[in-house]
């Protein structure tokens, strides 16, 4: 199980990813500019980029909350995002330790 001390670093990485991914969803960052995304996730995002809608371009979501849960070797994270006055929604992703860093390796279908 991931040690509590490592969980702090993973949580910080998860929050940074949440903020950067929100910028990506709004078309303000490219996949390569998401610093806390692992190479395989960047490749996937570049291969299957979501379509940025006019409304997403106009109003970038903000990160309200990030929760993390350790598993055997990875950390599962849920970021709660909100766009203007709209209801909040969540994105879920997996972080893995790569060298000294925690990187997001995949987004979950949830």
């Amino acid at each position: 199980m991931v040690a509590p001390s490592q969980l702090v670093a993973a949580r910080a990485s998860a929050r940074r990813f949440g903020v950067q991914y929100a910028g990506y969803l709004a078309g303000r960052l490219t996949a390569r500019e998401i610093e806390d995304a692992a190479a395989e996730l960047v490749r996937e995002l570049r291969r299957y980029p979501p379509r940025v809608t006019p409304a997403q371009q106009r109003h970038m979501p903000t990160v309200r909350r990030v929760t993390v849960e350790p598993t055997a070797a990875t950390v599962l994270a849920v970021a709660t995002l909100q766009t203007a006055e709209a209801p909040s929604f969540q994105i879920s992703f997996v972080l893995e330790r790569r060298g000294s860093r925690w990187l997001v390796t995949r987004l979950l279908d949830t």
Binding site: Q57, L81, P87, F89
Partner: protein, 386 residues
Amino acid sequence: MGAIATSTGSLRIAVALAAALVLVLAAFASLLGVAVGFDTCTGGDQPGPSAAADREIPARYLTAYRTAGRAFAVPWQILAAIGAVETNHGRLDAPGVRSGVNRYGCCAGPMQFNLTDGPPSTWQRYGVDGDHDGTKDVYDPEDAIPSAANYVRTLLRDADGDLRQAIFGYNHSHAYVNDVLARARDYADDISVATDGCASGVDAPAGPADIRAAQRLTAPRAFRTLPTWGMAGGRAPQPVDARIYTDVIWMLRRYHLRVTAAREDGHSTHGDGTGIDLVPADGITQGVWDASAGQLAHDLGWNPGCAVSGVRPSCPLVPAIQFVGYDGYPGHGSPRTCGGDCPAHLHISWASGCYGTGGLSAPCAWVIAFASSAERSAPARTVTEQ
């Protein structure tokens, strides 16, 4: 003369009555809002708008969403949520909303139809003349919204009724899907899909009449491949014995699960297609596991006392099920008991004459499945997004 006058008067009355009847019928059709002229379905009862929907959605758009939802048997609030996430119901003055195309040069209108993929483009394939003015105008909400409903209906059919998968088809982003679903829930309480013949295809699987009842099936001796949406983590679709297919699909929907392994070679109890491994579609927390995989295990008769056995009769499973591998059974279970080298999953094996087969084998002579209900072959049912 008198007779002729009477006859002429009767004729006038008859003509007047016929004309009135035509007018009444025309008015009735108009009131129904049925989009005559393209293939429509009956969407049945749909929930009314919430206070948030009334407050946030322009009246013209709200009417168009609800009419299109009914006409194409898709939840109107999903259409409205897509309209919100795309263009704030056509209110944005950004490029491509009211004229031209978006910044990426592809998409246009309040529902952001792609005009450039293809040919035929998505708009060419799914665009309809919703207001019957003789033109299909991608910028006109009375055309664009029923066109989106037409598109979503097809996406739902292709996704076998799975709402998440259908929305993902509209825009390939899980964040987009979650945003749409959150707004849809804000617009109306119940997000349900009337999966009748037009929404989900002819083989929309229904639930069993009673999972505590069973039927012994000797036909068809065949395999049937699971839909892509039913597999976990982008795995390639695998087959199951055709006689348990509807049971499996029902489980996936009812308990929001996905398959990690079905019929595959060299996997104990998986060779004959009567065993499956499942994980939650939302496999994040132990609470989610308990509410999905754990709930199914319990509903099938499993209890913690079954742990190291998992088979009948020591484990009081329902008649159709031979084995449940969950918390406590080696190599199986939720993250509560399964971690590290143990890949968390719930295993279910149906009872069959070939139980335990590891190598690929032909369909078994007999399989016991849940007792089918009249509903199983019924043309319509409701699947609720969970």
